[in-house]
């Protein structure tokens, strides 16, 4: 019996030794030190004990409010507990590094993910941080023996697949974006217009006092605008034809796949008491020439509407828009503003949907005028 207990103890001790020790080789400019640093594994990532790591490279550490303050090699490092940003200051320079993971508090002490620790050590001491290959196998409390993978070229984990798909989509967008930039450098035209009915499906947009959803109004407006444009043989692409959810990235991808030249994104604003109106957000791009042309189209729309309906209040702003930012395609976002009816429970939509139904025609006319003018200038 005694023998069994002692043998058990011996096994337990060996396991303990393997559980908490990750041998880390810190390569500093003047020396190479091998040290044991406490570690724990969470979600396939190794976290190492930040205070002991800093002390091994002759640093000091203190905690104040939400800041971890380190002092190493005459450099002061502030890491915000709640953020993944660290600022490194010395007399001559200030650097800012962004960690991939948040610093963790575990067992009342501070832990940093291994790869983030590497970045930190590299930034503050110019040294490297390497784990010793022979000690990479370790056991975690109650878990099977696991191999620590710390190489940058790790195979992606299952839970990261979604993120990778997103990255692929963004890369795809980026490649197509470059083609668009090249195309825009050569010429600017209004041959194909993307009409984006904002929101849709589970994304209802704002709810208006009458109970209508933004997604219903934008779809109706977009369909009407499209039919007007078709009458004049203007080539159009609709982001959605029915009541369905389409994500922003899919909309961007559709714009790039269809090689559209311009977009009109339809949205609505909360009703106002004074009068109906329209806000035109002109996409702000890095290319000044495109911005000028884009503003010209917006001005043309304002001019055409104002000529017929002086009572419609129209505001214009130039801000970076999501659809433009990820496609580099110029365009506008129209935000329709209804007016409250007297009882304040229902908004009027008559300017766009009933009495002033030619608003679609006016927008189409403005686009057509702008198109002709641009072609003439060519």
């Amino acid at each position: 019996m005694k023998k069994k207990i002692l043998l058990g103890m011996l096994f337990f001790l060996s396991v303990i030794q393997l559980t908490y020790a990750v041998n880390v080789v810190i390569s500093l400019p003047d020396s190479v030190q091998t040290v044991n640093i406490d570690s724990f594994n969470e979600g396939g990532k190794i976290y190492i004990h930040l205070p002991s790591l800093i002390m091994k490279i002759n640093g000091a550490i203190s905690i104040q409010d939400n800041l971890v303050k380190l002092s190493v090699n005459n450099k002061n490092v502030n890491i915000d507990f709640q953020s993944n940003l660290a600022s490194i200051n010395d007399i001559s320079e200030t650097k800012l590094i962004q960690f991939q993971n948040q610093i963790k508090i575990w067992q009342d002490t501070i832990w940093i993910e291994m790869n983030d620790a590497k970045t930190l050590i590299q930034s503050i001491s110019g040294g490297k941080l390497e784990t010793k290959d022979s000690l990479q196998e370790k056991t975690i409390e109650g878990q099977p023996i696991d191999t620590i993978e710390i190489k940058e070229t790790n195979e992606p984990e299952k839970e990261d697949k979604e993120e990778i798909n997103e990255k692929n989509l963004l890369e795809e967008i980026s490649t197509k974006q470059e083609n668009v930039i090249q195309k825009k450098e050569n010429n600017f035209s209004l041959d194909k217009i993307f009409i984006d009915a904002g929101h849709g499906g589970e994304d209802k947009g704002i709810t208006l006092p009458s109970g209508k959803y933004e997604k219903e109004i934008t779809l109706l407006f977009a369909n009407n605008l499209e039919s007007q444009m078709k009458k004049d043989n203007i080539n159009t692409v609709l982001s959605r034809k029915s009541e369905q959810f389409i994500g922003m990235k899919e909309r961007c991808n559709s714009m790039l796949n269809e090689k559209v030249d311009y977009f009109i994104s339809i949205h609505t604003e909360s009703p106002r008491r004074e009068r109906e109106g329209l806000i035109i957000f002109v996409s702000k791009l890095s290319d000044n020439d495109l911005n000028t042309k884009n503003n010209y189209i917006a001005d043309e729309i304002i001019k055409t509407i104002k000529e017929k309906y002086k009572d419609i209040e129209i505001e214009k702003y130039s801000f970076p828009l999501y659809l433009s930012d990820y496609t580099n395609i110029p365009g506008i976002l129209l935000e329709l503003i209804p007016r409250y009816k007297d009882d304040l429970k229902e908004e009027t939509w008559d300017i766009f949907l009933d009495k002033k139904s030619d608003i679609y025609t006016l927008i189409k006319d403005a686009i057509k005028n702008a198109k002709n003018s641009i072609e003439e200038k060519k």
């Binding site: 023998k3 002692l6 043998l7 103890m9 011996l10 001790l13 303990i16 030794q17 205070p51 002991s52 002390m55 000091a60 550490i61 203190s62 905690i63 104040q64 303050k69 002092s71 002061n76 502030n78 915000d80 709640q82 953020s83 993944n84 940003l85 600022s87 200051n89 320079e93 200030t94 650097k95 800012l96 962004q98 960690f99 948040q102 997103e166 904002g198 209802k204 704002i206 709810t207 994500g247 922003m248 990235k249 994104s265 949205h267 609505t268 604003e269 909360s270 106002r272 806000i279 957000f281 702003y317 801000f319 970076p320 828009l321 999501y322 433009s324 930012d325 990820y326 976002l333 935000e335």
Partner: protein, 211 residues
């Protein structure tokens, strides 16, 4: 095998086993000693870290300063200037934190603060390139995701940008723009949905109420 041989083998095994046990005990003692040593070093290091060695914002000389900030009008159609008092320090980032905090707590009926009271930025940093980074918590998405319009997003953004990048706040610090992050990353899709936060913002006073 006779009894004597069996006894000898048993004794031999017992000796080996005893030796292993003694080594194990020695390892435990050594580990405990190491642990105590390490903890005392940590304690000493923390105790010995004097405020003089590390920069401490609380040691900065401060005084109250009156600053004009831009907050949303009650009807949510434009930005209205409002004068507030903030504790002024020498660090630009710290002053930005103070202003954002003061903006959250504005309790004037005709003004709407851009940040709700329960939202505190995770970080406010100035990069060496002169980019002010405001890292917001994901709670902001929960707050605004469902009822956001392009106008609201613009007002929210420029309320902060116009307030923090005005000359009387930046003073001698070179600040080229404000970059917004949510949980340390450039936000995608949930909030903001209409305008893009992928690039830093420079002030734009076109949203300020005309009257």
């Amino acid at each position: 095998m006779n009894e004597l041989k069996r006894k000898t083998i048993r004794r031999l095994f017992f000796t080996i086993w005893s030796a292993i046990t003694i080594i194990a005990i020695l390892i435990v003692v050594f580990m405990v000693y190491e642990l105590i040593q390490e903890n005392s070093t940590l304690v000493n290091t923390i105790i010995n870290t004097s405020p003089q060695k590390l920069p401490d914002d609380s040691t900065q000389v401060s005084h109250n300063k009156s600053i004009t900030v831009y907050v949303l009008s009650k009807d949510g159609t434009c930005l209205r200037p409002l004068e507030i008092q903030v504790e002024w320090k020498t660090s630009y980032q710290e002053n930005c934190r103070q202003i954002l905090n003061a903006m959250k707590n504005i309790k004037v009926e005709t003004y709407v603060p851009p940040l709700p009271e329960d939202i505190t930025p995770r970080g406010v940093f100035l990069t060496p390139e002169g980019e002010l980074i405001i890292d917001l918590p994901s709670l902001i998405i929960t707050k605004y995701e469902k009822n956001t319009t392009a106008l609201f997003e613009s007002l929210f953004t420029y309320s902060i940008v116009d307030s923090l990048l005005q000359k009387e706040v930046t003073t001698d610090t070179v600040v080229k723009g404000v970059r917004f992050l949510i949980e340390g990353s450039v936000p995608m899709v949930e909030f903001p949905k209409h305008i893009s936060w992928s690039q830093p913002f420079t002030p734009d006073y076109s949203l300020i109420c005309s009257e």
